[in-house]
């Protein structure tokens, strides 16, 4: 682990165009992936990729936000910003995983849910809310990995998990540092300053009790040695899945509830 990087430097690594994306994770860590499309209500959202695959021989459900490495790829998946259809597809696949007793892996790299006209018309807020509610009571193991940027409810909607893991240089926040600076100071150019205040890096979030583990990256970031980086992810996922697989479905749901229930519950001592 490299403890010397600033938060802004980590944001830059997290956004590196060559950083491993959901397709790399699926190709490297899983076999026999079968993509499932569509929310069965309205449409298919390519900003979320999901399906069934084998993980070390065991059937699992894999879901993640999709970012491309080229402009063309990114245009095709709306730069990884899902609409309500994407979240509803994800929920459909999670409920399906529960039916077939498959563990769920989610991989998250998104600048947030898409703030568009049609996304609003079709209930972006409702779709995210529903995922939060339903994920909290799933009775199969759920492991979420923040691989790049995890921003806003758009990231959380895939991250109500038994284990929330972050790559060393990933960031997880209420919104982008640019958005944060523009809301708080009406000045998006102060984003570097925002990065430091927001406590969005993996070590920050570990300290705050929001995540459960950090997966180290090669020096310079996962894109400098993707195979080595993914091997580390694999080792961590395997270990976590093995430990969660020993629990009953109801015990998993109960422990997941308690984990999120505690966040922000420690009432601060003094009223300012």
């Amino acid at each position: 682990m490299n403890p010397t990087l600033t938060a802004a430097e980590r944001v830059a690594i997290a956004r590196h165009p060559q950083r491993p994306n959901i397709t790399d994770y699926i190709d490297t860590l899983f076999t026999d992936f079968f993509e499932c499309k569509g929310d069965r209500l309205c449409k298919e959202d390519p900003a979320i990729l999901g399906g069934v695959a084998l993980y070390h021989g065991r059937p699992v459900t894999v879901i993640g936000t999709r970012k491309g490495k080229t402009l063309e790829e990114n245009l095709a998946c709306n730069f990884g910003m899902p609409g309500p259809e994407g979240y509803r597809k994800a929920l459909r696949l999670m409920k399906q995983a529960e039916k077939f007793r498959r563990p769920i892996f989610t991989f998250i790299d998104t600048s947030g849910a898409y703030p568009g006209l049609e996304a609003e018309e079709r209930g972006q807020g409702e779709a995210i809310a529903r995922n939060l509610l339903e994920m909290s009571r799933l009775t199969v193991p759920v492991i979420a990995v923040i691989t790049g940027e995890g921003n806003s409810g758009g990231a959380l909607a895939l991250a109500v998990a038994d284990r929330v893991l972050m790559l060393e240089n990933a960031v997880y926040a209420i919104l982008s540092p640019e958005g944060f600076a523009s809301i708080l100071w009406k000045d998006a150019a102060r984003s570097a300053e925002a990065c430091e205040l927001m406590q969005m890096t993996a070590p920050d979030l570990m300290r705050l009790g929001v995540i459960d583990g950090i997966i180290p990256e090669p020096d310079g970031g996962a894109h400098t040695a993707p195979q080595a980086a993914l091997r580390k992810v694999d080792r961590t996922l395997r270990r976590q899945l093995a430990s969660l697989s020993r629990e009953s479905g109801s015990a998993l749901a109960a422990a997941r509830y308690q984990k999120f229930r505690k966040m922000g519950a420690q009432a601060p001592k003094e009223t300012p």
């Binding site: 996304a119 609003e120 809310a129 939060l132 991250a159 944060f180 966040m263 009223t271």
Partner: protein, 284 residues
């Protein structure tokens, strides 16, 4: 004995409500919607709804409670739960203190038990005058405690949402309140209990994307702005003007996200009716 305490509670709520329904200005108030002037007393006496155009002014939490609960039934839950500064964010404590002075509240949420038409329920209200009703850890905690209280005591739950979204100064802990409140509602719902969500102006961001959207019944006040992303962000993203009435309560009704748009004057009766419809009832 009981009636003495009930009277005291009624007086207390009435006092707090009066403060909450105070509309600044001399004799005349101009409506921020239609621009017409009305007498201050006429607006205040009309549930803070513009007598000329029906615009619903934002109202304070205690006043809201006084308009729907049976007199004397109000009992605040976790009224002393303090505001916090979990990230030690520069300048935030001063901001909180200023909001507390301005509103007389400790945080942006007030939760209580009370009766409506004699039926006991748990009611939570977000107050948009307190840092835009934004979701802090304390707000999330208060709402979650109210949900858990309702779950434990098998009571119906009514939450009035009004929020600009996340509390920026609490960062990721604000985000986590979305998961926390939604998870608490899953457990509440599993017990077969009724949750009525009422969306008021504005309901946006993380509150929309969590408890506000999860009601068995979802009501909205006329003209309330309801959405996930705010209009300014959407305008910037798509680079064009938004259609008239976009994200308003009536728009959400048309698009299938609310059951009914209910004017403030009819809110109490509507809630009473819904509680009755979900009650045990007599023989068929």
């Amino acid at each position: 004995m009981n009636s003495i305490f009930a009277k005291r509670r009624a007086r207390l709520l009435a006092m707090k409500a009066m403060r909450d329904n105070y509309i600044p200005g001399d004799k005349l108030v101009s409506c921020s919607h239609c621009g017409q002037e009305s007498e201050r007393k006429a607006v205040a006496g009309n549930l803070s709804v513009c007598p000329k155009c029906g615009y619903h002014f934002p109202i304070g939490a205690y006043y809201r409670l006084s308009t729907i609960l049976d007199p004397g039934s109000f009992r605040e839950l976790n009224g002393k739960l303090p505001a916090g500064d979990p990230l030690a964010f520069p300048g935030y404590r001063e901001k909180l203190a200023a909001a507390q002075r301005k509103t007389g509240l400790t945080e942006a949420a007030v939760t209580a038990t009370g009766t409506i038409g004699g039926r006991k329920c748990v009611v939570g209200v977000l107050d948009s005058r307190f840092l835009m009703g934004s979701m802090s850890a304390a707000v999330g905690e208060k709402i979650t405690l109210a949900i858990e209280y309702a779950t434990k005591n098998k009571l119906p739950l009514i939450l009035f949402a009004a929020s600009g979204g996340a509390r920026m100064q609490e960062g990721i802990l604000s985000l986590m309140q979305m998961a926390k409140t939604s998870a608490a509602l899953a457990r509440f719902s599993d017990k077969g209990l009724l949750y009525i969500s009422v969306l008021t102006d504005p309901t946006t961001g993380g509150v929309t994307a969590s408890f506000a959207s999860l009601g068995d019944i979802i009501l909205a006040e006329p003209g309330a702005l309801i959405g996930f992303a705010g209009p300014r962000v959407i305008r910037q993203t798509i680079g064009q003007e938004l259609p008239e009435g976009f994200q308003r309560a009536e728009f959400q009704l048309e698009h299938g996200f609310v059951d009914a748009v209910v004017p403030r004057a009819q809110m109490r009766d509507t809630l009473e009716r819904l509680l009755r419809l979900h009650g045990k009832g007599g023989p068929a």
